[in-house]
C-alpha cells in the first residue's frame, strides 16, 4: 500500500487543529456570547405590551431607511434608583459574608479530609457530595422545617431548656446565611480538598525541622500554598451567591432584598424585560471584576515559572 499523500495528511492535521481550537470558541459563542448579545439587546429596548414584551432595536421604516433606537433609560434608572444599588450592595454583603463563612467552615473540613487516612477519604468526600443527589429545592425546603418557629431547631432548643419562646430565625437574614452556607459549602470544600491533597507533606516536616511550630507552619506554608484553592472555592461560592434567588425567596424575610429577587420581580411581576436585562448586565459586569482579579492572581502565581 502506498503511503497517503503528504499533502492530504497535512491538510487533515490542519483540519483537526482547526476543529480543536474551533470547538471551544464555538461553544463560547453559542452559549455565552449569543445569549449575552440577546440580553444586551433587550436591555437597550423599551418595554411594550406585545409579544415579545419589548420594542425592536431596529426597524425598516421606509425603503432604505433603517431606524435604530437605543434606550439607555434602563441603565440610568438602575444607576440612579437607590433601590437597585442597595439590593446590589446587600447581595454583595451576603455573598462576602457567606464566602467567608464557607471558607471558615470549609477549610478545616477540606483539611481534615485531605489529611485523613487514604481509605477514609472517598467516604468522607462522598458525605460532602451526597446531598447533591437530592434536589436543591427540597434541601432548602427542609431548612424551612428546621428553622420555623415550631420547627426542629426551636423544638430541640426548648426541650433542652435553652430558650423559652421560639427564636425567629426563618424569614430573617440569618436564615439566608444558614441556607446559603449550607448549600454552597461543598463548592468551597472540593477545590480546597483538591488543592490540599497535592500539598507535599514533607514541606510541613521541613518547616517543623527548621523550628516552626504547627500553627505557624500552617500560616506560613499550608495557607499560602493553598491560596489557589481558596481563590477557586471563594469564586465558586461568591459568584453564584451574588445572584442567588431561591434561598432568599424561601428562607429570607422581606428585608433580605437581593438583586436576584429584584431581577425576578422586574422580569415577572413588572414584565419589564428591558430593565431586568439591564440589571443582569450590570450584575455581570460587577462579577467580572473579581473574576479578572482572580485571573491576575493566578497569572502572577504561575507567571514566575519559566
Amino acid at each position: 500500500m502506498p503511503a497517503p499523500l503528504p499533502s492530504a495528511s497535512v491538510r487533515h492535521r490542519r483540519m483537526s487543529r482547526l476543529v480543536n481550537i474551533g470547538i471551544p470558541y464555538l461553544w463560547l459563542g453559542l452559549f455565552f456570547l449569543l445569549p449575552f448579545a440577546i440580553v444586551l439587546q433587550i436591555s437597550l429596548a423599551e418595554p411594550a405590551l406585545a409579544q415579545p414584551p419589548y420594542t425592536a432595536l431596529w426597524q425598516w421604516v421606509d425603503e432604505g431607511l433603517l431606524r435604530i433606537e437605543i434606550n439607555l433609560r434602563n441603565f440610568m434608572m438602575v444607576a440612579q434608583d437607590d433601590l437597585y444599588l442597595s439590593a446590589l450592595l446587600n447581595s454583595l454583603q451576603v455573598a462576602v459574608i457567606c464566602t467567608l463563612l464557607c471558607l471558615l467552615l470549609g477549610y478545616p473540613m477540606a483539611y481534615a479530609i485531605a489529611t485523613a487516612p487514604e481509605r477514609w477519604r472517598i467516604t468522607l468526600l462522598m458525605l460532602i457530595v451526597l446531598p447533591f443527589w437530592t434536589s436543591f429545592l427540597i434541601r432548602v425546603y427542609a431548612w424551612i422545617g428546621i428553622l420555623k418557629p415550631n420547627g426542629l431547631l426551636n423544638d430541640a432548643l426548648i426541650w433542652l431548656g435553652l430558650i423559652d419562646t421560639p427564636l425567629a430565625i426563618l424569614h430573617t437574614q440569618t436564615a439566608v446565611y444558614i441556607g446559603v452556607v449550607y448549600s454552597y459549602l461543598p463548592f468551597m470544600i472540593l477545590p480546597l480538598y483538591a488543592n490540599l491533597t497535592r500539598l507535599d507533606p514533607s514541606l510541613l516536616e521541613a518547616a517543623a525541622d527548621l523550628g516552626c511550630r504547627p500553627m505557624r507552619a500552617f500560616l506560613r506554608v499550608t495557607l499560602p500554598l493553598s491560596m489557589a484553592g481558596i481563590v477557586a472555592g471563594s469564586m465558586l461560592v461568591f459568584i453564584p451567591v451574588v445572584g442567588e434567588f431561591v434561598i432568599p425567596d424561601l428562607l429570607g424575610g422581606p428585608e433580605s432584598l437581593m438583586v436576584g429577587k429584584l431581577l425576578w420581580s422586574e422580569f415577572f411581576s413588572n414584565k419589564d424585560w428591558p430593565l431586568a436585562s439591564a440589571l443582569a448586565i450590570l450584575l455581570l459586569a460587577l462579577l467580572v471584576v473579581p473574576f479578572v482579579m482572580m485571573q491576575r492572581l493566578q497569572q502572577r502565581m504561575e507567571g514566575s515559572r519559566p
Binding site: 516536616e205 521541613a206 525541622d209 527548621l210 523550628g211
Partner: protein, 378 residues
Amino acid sequence: MATLAERRSLEPWQDPKAVPYLRIDRVTKKFGDVYAVDDVSLEIFQGEFFSLLGSSGCGKSTLLRMLAGLEYPSAGRIYIDGVDVTDVPAYSRPVNMMFQSYALFPHMSVEQNVEFGLKQDRMPRRERGERVGEMLDLLKITELRKRRPDQLSGGQRQRVALARSLAKHPKLLLLDEPLGALDKRLRENTQFELVNLQERLGITFVTVTHDQEEAMTMSTRIAVMDAGQIMQVDTPTAIYEFPTCRLVAEFIGSINLFEGKVVATEGNQVLVETRVGRPMRMRAFHPMVLGTPVTVAVRPEKMRLCADFRDDGVNQLKGRVEDIAYLGDVSIYRIRVGDGALVEMTLTNVQPRTEQALTWEQEVAIEWSPTSGVVLTE
C-alpha cells in the same frame, strides 16, 4: 604510622572513654505489626560523617526521621549531646535535616527559604541577612537568591536545601539521600564538596543512602542495615575488607563466596573444605570449632593468575574463562571452576586489551592469599 592517641582522636569509636554526641539506645519503631526499626543501638561521635546504608525498606530512613523528631520511637531512647530528646518534637530539636525531595518551599525565593529557620528563632534582621549571605556564599548560590525553587536545576536545588539546613548552624545535620536526585557526574563532584564542607564546619553528619559507593567515599563510618536491624557498623575499609556476615559482604561490591566447613585450625588460620575443590586456608579473627559451617569470602580483585598451579596447592582453583567484561581500567573475568561454580576475578588492564593473554574458553589457574579474604560464620 599514627600514634595511638592520634588514631583515637580520628577514630573516637575506638576510645572507650570518648563520649558519643548522638546515642541511640535500643530504639524500635513499629508501624502496625511491622518492625521498621528493630532494637537498634548506635553511638555517633562529634565530627563524624556517618552513613546509614541499606536497600529501600531496610528502616534507615525511619531511623533518620526519628532522629529528626518526625517519627517517635515505639521503644528506646535517643540522646543528643547527653540530653534525652526522645519525646522532644521536631521543632524543638537542635538538629536539622536535608530532605530527599529537598522540600523547598515553592512559594518562597531561595533567600526566603534559607532565612526560614532563622526567622523561627527570632534572629534579628541584620544578623539574619548576614547569615543568609554567608550560607549563599558557602554554597556558591548568591546569584540565585531571588529565584523560586521551580526556576532552579536539580543541582541548584540541592545546594539551596543544604544551605537552608545549615543556616541555623546545627551541630548535627541529617541528610536523607542527599545526592539521590542528582545525575551521576554531578553526584561524584558533590560527594567531595559535601565532605569538604563537613570537615570545614565540623558538624556531625548522619546521612541515609542506598548507594554503597557514595557511602564508601564520604563516610567515617557506615552502618549497614537490613530488615530494621544493623548488620555491621564500621569504617568503609573494614566494611569492605572484613565484612562480618554474608549480607554485608554481598551488599558492598561483588564477592566470591565458597560454602564449606572448618576441617583444621593452624594458629590463626583455618582450613576450610568447600565443594569447589581442594581445601582453602584462610586467616580467621576468631577461634573456630572444627566442623563449623562457614563461608569463605574473597573479593574478585584479590584473585590473581596462578603461575605455578600445584595439585596440592591451597587457595588455588582451575577453570575456564566463560565471560569477560571489559570496563576500561579493569576487566572482569568469570571463570567456571571445579563443580560448576562461577568465580569472578578482576584484573587491571596493564596491557592494551588486544594484547592481553586471557581470552574466552581459555583454561586458567587462579589463586589468592590466606589474608585476602575472610571466613564468615553466618
